[in-house]
Structure formats: structure tokens, C-alpha cells
Assembly symmetry: D2
Homo-oligomer: 353 residues x 4
């Protein structure tokens, strides 16, 4: 019943396992010859090629090309699968000397909502590194609904984050909110985050695609699965396939939480994309007491990682006090994860992977 | 900002661990003396008393009564907790000779959406028993949106379900849609189900409260946490504390699923009630391919059990074909659960507990 | 993307203007011959026949039957129309000596949320009659989320309502919440209301279909357009085509209102059904201050009437205090409507139409 | 129950009617002295001052300052009003020689979703001018979910729009999607539009606040009333109070429309802000057939104007074909509005006001 606008279809080519380099190039050349702008993604030894299909030519006839296993539409035209096996996530290297995320590896990124000062950041960084995180989050520029609220420390915070990386080896993940900030953030951080408020900011997405660093893309507050994949395409289309998708809760009528964590998007995404998917149980619920169970639920649903707000003194946090867990609560969660991760047939990522 | 109507508050008294029988009775007597209609619930060795508080007397002063640990409001007035520990679920005995659910026990109920004929029901019952289920679900009366759709076999189906119980020992769980059906269903079944469409049907809830059997209460399509607890109160108020709550997906803008499984309600409910909470990943997603990961996610979030639609030949199912898993898919899921359940520090319920 | 279950299609036959009685009977006979259970509806001099179509036979070939203008599917299979003209609403006679609603007539039903006592009811009835209402609403049995809340005066309230009708000529509209109550309510009231909580209570809908009185059917909190039409079919299928549909707000993330009045359903319904559609701006917003503008918006969107909560002393109302307007506020609204209604090319209904 | 983050409160000072210039300045000076960053807004002869209040000082004590009538919080802390009278909208001059919108004036802006070529734009501009519109909309840069979709003609389109203004006198309204585009768009257009996807793009909002032209701010897909007001504050805080708010539908479970037009936000906004509010029934429903009734409903709810997608050949439109009305349909709607607007006690704006 819902009317969906006709748009050009983006299609992903799933290449056969063990496709030769020649055949891979031949497929890409054929796509280029047809004006389809191919982008190559890799997941383990499997290759994928995304391309822009013409609206008037849904039958690309690439299915029968040597080395091609099947075509997966990534847009409006695709139907939910009932039985299809999930695609394994491609691995994303958060930083060269640090942890990876995806494949069998489950990685945890943690840190304060915003970098409030040097001391609290370093204290948090050491504690989450100790507990087993591979990434350090921390807002330098805070998007605030109210223009008169605390807006973050800016470049000063980026310097503190870089210092924390030197001391701990953690990969730094932080948000850029404008084209100008992308460059600045990419100079200091290992992973550039695009926040939920900017998931539809196509100018920013394209800039992130050119920044040379992996991009953590958060789902918008009411974005559909297709829109999230389309937003990722804006980044990939610039030649950067190192994209990590992140579910962070959607807006519903629910009143017992600030956001409704919609975990079914995790296995649904995995039917359609090899991009790794992580979950933010802090923003995704808005309540500290739900972070532990919902973190476990996210991993059981198939997520490749978590991003969690941690604060040395949560009740005194300048932002998001209600959803930040303490260092102790974070440590307790991290001590409980390995058994769960093993039961799920996966492994915790480690900083010196 | 949301305006919530002022209503009388229902309060739950959490009694101290090891409270003596005398003190327990004294508290109840005091409540009765004040006209507060106490109902006793038990979770392990812990006792709870629900009671109707007067709107004008929120300060019940029962906090300081001997044996009383704390008061938990169960309605509008209650605030989401940030750090409070979950309450352990009281155990519900599905059938005297069969499995229990709650406490450390995780129980799985499975079967076809509707009982289509005797052969398919018995085939399914034996298969899910073999795989480790403790309950058999199966619709005798089907609530159909369209009045001209297949409406179920009625009492004939109840007879088949009772026969399946004789052969397998499984507890029979089936829905009653009207006051008249409650009596009929309670004669054949072990657990009477109230469906999502009837969660606000207070006349039916009261009838279920008088039926003498445990009640499985499904959350309405857009019911809040409080409304679900209030609906449970309608049952408990008739003297039947054997209520199992069930999350089955809510309505949102999401388009990749038929319903959005809102798993955060599981740990949120456990901060407020000792009633066991189970999850329906079949109705809760509408897609067979998501049942496996979302079942695991539900348990990791703290659910006490699952209710799953299983069909010997899903694509030929008369109802809910797209969300029914095959016997093989169910068997595979059940073989994967024990490791997960152990990692979560819990145990699978068994039919001859 | 959204998966909609395959269900049997209900189809409405739009008969040609001026179809002869013989042809009308011939079409119905043909439908019966095919097992399609025809029900006749009339809107002015236009006839409609609803019937149950077989899932395997969507092409009924009735389009070419003499006297048949077109077929309108009323269920899942139907697509939103972009340009189709609205169907004029059939007129429903609220009471033989009283007002009608539908066609060009716009009717207003008003009264307290619940009948609190005889004096307040009679005061309200005289005031709303004076202001131009044609119906008197007032709850005798109140569905309360909380089982310990005020549940209404019951049969006593029905007697007061009947007395108010004797004194004012207003048609009495009140809710029945169970099969037993339907009979009782139909004995006293002119129109039996089915509330939002019971829109999916199919047993109750069928009972209302046999009660011999017009039925006011409120949309469920998260019911789709199709589900509302299906619920109406349950009533019509019992031989009662006197159904009035009512939009009363749906559940969304909005926080500035208790419910989101979804007025686009009014013209959307009118593309598919000749049943009159009214709007409840009181329940539909939950805020007294929004009743006036949203009443006007509802009529401008094409609604055939309004149902409004009015109370002599709103702040002292036992139920729904925040959404009840005062007698003065109601009078002011009613004095503003005639100019608007004329501008829309329609007429206000009057009690002695 | 819903947890709302504590944020600094923005407060609006409603000055007494006829406040003297001295007193007005004195109030502003007092605000500046307290570091509250006052911004002046005018609606008719009424003055308002917005200011940033300290979180720790909610009691500003400005209520008793001479000339101050009352304080209206514009953020999280404010409660829905039940009875408060709507604030009259301040008038916004779309272009010096052209129409105004707000106060008693209702203005209609119309044009194609995207500027496809010079001929179709000029044809549309002349037709909507003829029909009574005061503004011409038309996308130069189209935000497309899919990166491979048609992205608009860019600066070429801006030139066509300017030419259309020369020929018709219509004010040009078009969207800017990045900080760089704001400058470019402001050079050609009369009103700079910020789209729903960018309502939370605070960097862009601030840039729009400095562009020297009125800003049309569309509500985000799931933005709350407060968030919309906060976004407006980002613009106003740069010294630009010429902001027009626009409801364009929110995301819900509804399936009969692409978006749910949430008209109750119109009167709710008017209880809190003097900014004019318009409605987009094209995006707000996604269906051409609903544009006429929902336009009327929007005005009846109190909107100060409409923005409508019109196309000479809707079915051939490159974007939004299903929601664009034809020139004839637009003309018909415009011919029906004056009677309605008069009945509502308002007047149609005209280009040479």
C-alpha cells in the first residue's frame, strides 16, 4: 500500500567465491562500459561490486557473466528475504596498529558522550582499554538541539583524543558535523562519525567519502533500511568502502525509553550488505539501566560491535547523563561478553589484532 | 510533555526476603483494612503484594511496616529506572506434570499459527517436543482482520491439541477471543492466551482471571508498558497471579518488517514486575528469516521464554506463511540455544522439570 | 517493502445511477450464486453491494454485468488513488425523529466523557441541543486502562441518557464493551458505539451487527485504513449497513498531543467507501485548546460530522478533564461552524431534519 | 515517563501591547546585562523577545518588569496549553514588491518539485500566478536519497527561477542544502528553504540565519514541536527573525499515505510562537488526490499558508510524480479557497499587497 517513489536502482553484484582477478576486472570493466560506476567491496575472500543501474533497465543480464553469483538490489525495489543466509560482514580496520571489526570479530567502542576535559578523557580511555574496548568515542563538536546548550570543546577535544590514543592504542572515533569539520576530524581521528541528525546530509556524506578514513554512519531517527543503505552509497560512491553502519534507535510511541532500539534491522541489513553493523545501546534506549541487556541482545541479533557511552561520574556528565554507564558498569558488561560471544561462534576483537 | 491522565495508582509491595508467614498476613490484612484489595505473587522465596492505592493517598506509609522492603508503583506515576536491578521472574507452571517457565528457566512454546488438521498438528507436536519445546501453541479460533478469511477449526482444534498433549506431554497454549470461549478453551488447554487485539478488552481479561489456568497475555500493537501492566492487573485482580507477559512487536514506520520487535521492554518490565516475560519473534517480525537471530536477541535481553510459529510446510500454511519456520529451522535454532542460555547464566526448561 | 498477508479480498460493487430494482436484484442473485454474500448499501439514489471475493478469483467479471459501474476493492489489494473523486457518504439516520448524518449533512454529537450524575447530564444535554448538536454522547460503561479506576454508572447512566433524549430530542450515542452490553445498550441508545480498544474485537463487532441500531465504529489506536474497513465489514456482514466510521487519533512519537489526529484518512476513506466518516477532536488530540481548530480542520478535510467531549465544569470532570471543552467553548465553536460548512458546500444537520 | 534531557531553556518574553520604545529597550538591556542574548520579533504591533535562559535560573523574574505581559518558554520545559489563545503570526514579507504571509494574510506558494527546464518552469509560474499564488517554488538542488538519482539543474535552475520572477512578480522559494549553497541561493531567491532532511543540520541553520533573506524551515521527518522551535532558534540567534515554519508530514505506521500530515502541530505551535506556520500537503501526504482536502484542512487548522507541488504534466514529472497536482487541479483548488478563507475570518495574500 505504501507508495514508494520510483528511483534508479543501486545493485550489488555478488561475485563467486574464488573469482579470479581477471574476471573481477572484466566484470568491473563491463559495468563501466555501461556507465554503471562500479565500486569494489571485499568481505573475507568474497568480492562485491556496487553499481548504479538504470531505472529502465532492471534486467542487467550480468547474472550470467562469468564469476557472477547473483545480483542483490540495495534499494527500493528489494523485497525482504525470508530464508536467505546473512552475508558475512567485511572487516574494517579501525586503525592500522589497532583492532578490526567485522568477520568473526566483535569490537566495542566506548567513551564519554562529549570530551569534557583532558583528565576525564584519559581516565575513561585507560579504563575502557583495560576492560577490552578497541575504540574510544568522545564528542568534540556536539550537535545540540538547543542552540544555547554546551557545544563541545572543538579542536582542543581532538587533541585530547589523539593523546589518549597515544597512551592506550585505542582507535579514536568522533563526529564531524560539517564539510569543514570532516577535514579537521580526519586529521586527528581514526574513524569519522556521521551522526543520526546528518544521515540525510548528502553533501556531508560525500565529503566523508573523500576523507581517507573509515566512516561510522549512524541511522537517522526515522530512516528506513533502504535510506541507510543509500546514505552509505553516498560515501562508497566517492571510493571509500570502509563504512560501518550503526543502529541507534528510532522514534516511536514508546514511553519507557527515549528511543526504540530496532534490533531486527541488524539481521535484515545482513541479508543485503557486507558492511559491518554495530549498535549503540546508550542512544538507542536513553537509559543506563538498559545498556547491559540491550548490548547482549544486539550481539545475539548478529551485530558486529557496540558503541557505548561511558563516564567516570555519570550523574555529573554535561551531556546524556541518564544514558552513560559508569566505569564499573562498563567493566562488568565487558567481563560478561566473552562467554556470550563464544556461544555465538564469534570472537572479541582486540587492540593488537 | 506528553499528557498522561491522572489515574489511581496500583502499587506493588516488595516484601523482605524471608518474611514470616505472620508478617505477610499482617501486611495483607493492613492493606485490606485500608480497602486496597491485596493480591499475593511469589517469585522464588520472594513475595510481592499488588494493591490498589487511592489517588489521594500516594504516601501509603507501608514502607515502614515490618517485613516490607520497598513499594514499586506499577502505573502512570512510575519513572524509568536507570540503575535498579531486574526483579527475578516468578515461576509459572505451564502444566502440573510439565515444564515451568521463569526464575532461571527459559521455556520455548512452539507450533502452528492455526491448527489446520489433526495430522499436521501431531507431526508438529512431536517434532517440537523432540527439539526441546515445553509448550505447544496452535490457534483454534483465529482472529482475522477480514471477516471472510479462514476463522479456525474451533472446538475440533481443541480436541486435536488435547490429543497432542497426551502423546507428547507438551503444555497446550491457545487463544480465547471471547468470554464464552474462555471457558471452553480452559477446559482443553493448559494456558489461555489473550491476543494482542484483545489486550484492552477488559471484560475478557477479567474472565481470563477467573478461568483457573495460567494466562499468556500478549502486548497490544501500540500498547505502552503501563497499559500492559494494567491489563495484567485486570487478570490478577480476579485472584489469578499466573500471568505471562509477551512482547510481540509494535507498529512503527519500519518497512523491512511487519512489526518492530521492541526488546527493550523486556528489561524495562523486569524493573517493575516479577511476572515472567516471553517474546514472539514470529509475529514480532513477520519474517521467517529473522526468527533465529531475534530469538537469541530476546533471550540475551532477559526474556524468560519464546513462542514461535512452526509449520511442517511453511509455504503451504493457511495463515502467517511468511513468518512460520520449518521443523528443520526450528530444530536448528533449538540446538543452538543451550550454549547461549548457559552463557547467560540460565537453564533451558524441560517438559518433565 | 512492507509484507502484507494475502487475504481474501472484499469487493464493493458500485451500481450505476438509476439502476432498476430488477437489475439490482439480478446482480445480488448472481453474487449469491457464486457464494459471495452480498450486502446492499445505499447513498442517496446510489446503490453499493459489498461481497466476499475468493482469493483465487480476483477477476470477478462482474464489471460487465448490466447496471454495474465499477468494482472497488475494500482491502489489502487496493492501491491508494491519486485522482479518484470521493464517494458521497450514505446518510445514516441517528434516530427516526431526529437528525441524519452524511450526504450533504454535517452532524455534531456532543456530551460528557462519562455520565457522572443525572443533573450534569441534563444540563449538558440542553446546552449542546441549544448550540446545535444532533446527538448526545456519554459513557455509561467506561473502559479504563487501570482496573481500579472509575468504571462508569452502568445501566443507571443509560436511564439518564434516555431521559435526556426525551427532554431534548437528541439521539443518544453510547459505548458497549461486551456482547452482553450490546443488547442492554441497544435497548436504551439510538446509536451503539464500539470503542477504539475494541475495533479488533470481532465477536463484539458481529454482535453490534445484529443489534438493529446504527453503529459508531472508532478506529483503533494503530489500526490501518484497511483494518478499519474490515472491522466495518464484520458489522455489515451481519446485515447492518448503518455504520459510521470515526477517526480518533493514532499513536506516534508526537509529544505535544496525546494522540495524533490523522486527518488524511478522511479523504482516503472516501475514495473507497460510502460509509460516513466523523472525527473525534477530543480523544484525537487530548487537549481542550486544540478542539476548536481541529474540528474545523476535520470538516475541511471532508468529515461528515464531529463527536466532541463537553463538560459543564471541565476541570472537575472525573475522566478526560484535559480534553473536555466547557459549554461556552462548545457554543462558540458551534456558532463558528455554519459559515465554514456553507463555504464547504454543505449543510449543518438539525435535530428535526 | 519519557525522559527528556535537561537543557538550557529558551524563553520568549511577550511584551505588553503598546509597550513604549524605551521600555522595550530597557527590557532588552536588562536581558543583555544578564547574558541572555535577546532577539526581537514583531507581530503586528506586538513585540516578543527571545532569550537564552540559564538552566539554573528558571525564575527570571522578568515577569514583573514594566511592559512585560508574560514569559513563554519555547523549549523542553514547556507544557501543552489547554486553553491559551493562539498568538497571531508575525508577517513575513516574501519580497519587497510582492506578497506577505502571516497576520490575517494566507499565502500560497506553488511550483514544480524540481526545475526540469526553462519552458516548464515559465509555464507553471504564469499559471500559478494567474491562479493566485504569491510564491514560486522549484528545486534547483534536489536532495535525493539515492546518490545516482537526478540531482537537479543547479545554478541554471536558479537563473530560470529569477527569470520567472521577473515575468510574474512571484517571490522565489528554493532550497539550499549546504553552507556554500546558502550564499548562492540567497543571491537568486527571495526565500531560502531548509529541507526536512536538514532541520537538524545546525551548521546550515546558522548559515541561513546570516543570509539576509527570509527562511522557510521544514519540519524534520520525526522532529518534535520543541526541536522545530529549537531549529528556528538557530536561525533567529544569528539575527534573522524572518522564519516561516512548515509542517510536511511525519513518519508513522500509516500505509494509505507516504507521510502523516500532523495538523495539530499548527495550533499547538501558535500557542508558543508568533512565527507563521504553513503546510505542505504534497510532501505531507504523497498523494495528489489528497492535496485538495488536506489544503483546506490545513487552513482550517489555522495555517498561514500552503506550499504545493504543481506540474504541467504530473505523470511525466522527473521527481514526485505521484504527489504533484496539475495546473487545472491547482486552479480548481485556488478558486475554492477564497470562500473558505473568508469563513475563517482571514484574507488571501496577493502579489502586490
Amino acid at each position: 500500500m505504501r507508495v514508494i517513489q520510483e528511483e534508479h536502482a543501486v545493485v550489488m553484484v555478488v561475485c563467486e567465491l574464488g573469482i579470479s582477478a581477471e574476471r573481477l576486472q572484466a566484470v568491473e570493466e563491463e559495468c563501466r562500459r555501461r556507465g554503471l560506476q562500479p565500486q569494489r567491496l571485499q568481505s573475507g575472500s568474497r568480492y562485491f561490486i556496487t553499481l548504479a543501474a538504470l531505472a529502465n533497465d532492471h534486467r542487467l543480464a550480468l547474472e550470467h557473466w562469468p564469476g557472477v553469483e547473483r545480483l542483490v538490489p540495495t534499494v527500493n525495489s528489494f523485497r525482504p528475504e525470508t530464508d536467505s543466509a546473512p552475508l558475512a560482514a567485511q572487516q574494517v580496520v579501525l586503525r592500522p596498529e589497532g583492532g578490526v571489526l567485522g568477520g568473526v570479530r566483535i569490537g566495542v567502542i566506548a567513551g564519554p558522550c562529549s570530551v569534557e576535559d583532558r583528565a576525564m578523557l584519559l581516565e575513561t580511555a585507560h579504563a575502557v582499554r583495560e576492560a577490552g574496548a578497541i575504540g574510544l568515542r568522545g564528542g568534540a563538536f556536539k550537535p545540540r538541539t538547543n542552540p544555547y546548550s554546551f557545544q563541545g570543546l572543538g579542536e582542543k577535544a581532538l587533541e585530547f583524543l589523539a593523546e589518549a590514543r597515544e597512551q592506550t592504542g585505542l582507535a579514536v572515533v568522533t563526529e564531524a558535523m560539517s564539510v569543514q569539520q570532516v577535514e579537521l576530524v580526519a586529521r586527528y581521528a581514526d574513524v569519522v562519525q556521521i551522526g543520526a541528525r546528518n544521515m540525510h546530509n548528502f553533501v556531508l556524506l560525500s565529503a566523508a567519502g573523500r576523507c581517507g578514513k573509515p566512516v561510522l554512519l549512524k541511522r537517522g531517527w526515522s530512516a528506513t533500511l533502504e535510506e541507510l543503505l543509500h546514505a552509505a552509497e553516498y560515501i562508497i560512491a566517492e571510493g571509500n568502502p570502509q563504512v560501518i553502519l550503526c543502529e541507534r534507535g528510532v522514534r516511536t510511541f514508546e514511553q519507557h525509553v527515549r528511543n526504540t532500539l530496532s534490533l531486527s534491522i541488524v539481521p535484515a541489513l545482513k541479508q543485503h550488505t557486507p558492511l559491518p553493523v554495530i549498535v549503540d545501546p546508550s542512544q538507542g534506549t536513553g537509559l543506563r539501566g538498559l545498556v547491559n541487556p540491550m548490548s547482549k541482545a544486539a550481539l545475539a541479533a548478529g551485530a558486529d560491535g557496540l558503541i557505548i557511552e561511558v563516564h567516570p561520574r555519570p550523574d555529573a556528565a554535561l551531556t546524556d547523563a541518564e544514558q552513560s554507564v559508569s566505569l564499573e558498569q562498563f567493566g562488568e558488561l565487558m567481563s560478561e561478553l566473552p562467554a556470550l560471544v563464544t556461544a555465538l561462534g564469534r570472537e572479541m576483537a582486540i587492540t593488537n589484532d
